[in-house]
């Protein structure tokens, strides 16, 4: 047996004599409580971030006004827009002028109005 193997065996024997160490009772419950506290903070943090973001936006749009003023103005504007959109008739399509910038006239080297080379 080499010195290294003999060291390993000796140390393994020694470490086996160590008593098993167990955490105190309620340790895992404490860890779970730690998770619950972290989770509660996280949720509070998400809500605070949302409110903070809205408040920052409202101060940009309407400086000095409380949060409910720009929020209400936005809500009223949305309602008016939606109401008008629902009440007004759909616009009829524009009459076809035969010309569109989006659809250029087709072009061919063999143009349909040049019936044959004999025309030259």
């Amino acid at each position: 047996m080499t010195g290294e193997e003999s060291d390993r065996e000796f140390v393994d024997r020694a470490l086996r004599r160590l008593p098993a160490s167990a955490p105190s009772s309620g340790f895992e419950a404490g860890l779970r409580a730690g998770y619950a506290a972290w989770n509660a903070d996280r949720q509070k943090g998400l809500w605070a971030a949302l409110v903070g973001g809205l408040r920052g936006l409202s101060q940009t749009v309407w400086p000095g006004a409380p949060l409910w003023v720009p929020t209400s103005a936005l809500a009223v504007a949305l309602l008016v827009g939606a109401g008008l959109g629902a009440a007004l008739p759909v616009a009829t399509a524009a009459t076809d002028s035969g010309f569109s910038l989006e659809q250029p006239q087709s072009f061919s080297l063999v143009a349909s109005d040049m019936t044959s080379e004999e025309d030259f």
């Binding site: 955490p23 860890l31 730690g34």
Partner: protein, 185 residues
Amino acid sequence: MHDPDAEDVAKAGQGDGTAAARLIGRHASKLFTVARRMLGAQAEAEDVVQEVFLRLWTHAARWQPGKAKFETWLYRVMLNQCYDRLRRRSAVPLEAAEDIADEAAPPDAGLDDGVLSQEIGRALEDLPERQKAAILLCHFRELGNGDAAEIMGISVEALESLLARGRRNLRSRLEHLKEVLGGGS
């Protein structure tokens, strides 16, 4: 490589308490065993495990499964916490350090199991921190050299060298217990 913890880590990061409890159940006591032997103090080991899990929760939502095995990350964080505490301890001036009674029994005393395990525990605690970590990971966690090396952030060759030095060192500290521990050479 399938990591059985990856799914639970992601769920815990999104607020799933059941997934968090599963992770705690799978890893807390194993982490504690190694931390307890690293630090030699029950309360400090519990604090370390608590800190490891707090760090886990704050990182869980950003966990990227493919990057590293979860257990490797967990043990690495735990070891770093233990190293920090051991270094802080050694930075305490001698005048401020508590007197530690020398409870070592004389070599020829008839050792009962309690005294014997105390002696072994103390010899282990006195090892240099990295040698101790290598021995603990391989002995208590029964990790392969590759996994233990990854946790410690070193090559397998460096780990084997640490293990060899650690075992030689521990053996020389326990040489006077050779007869009690059995085995010769």
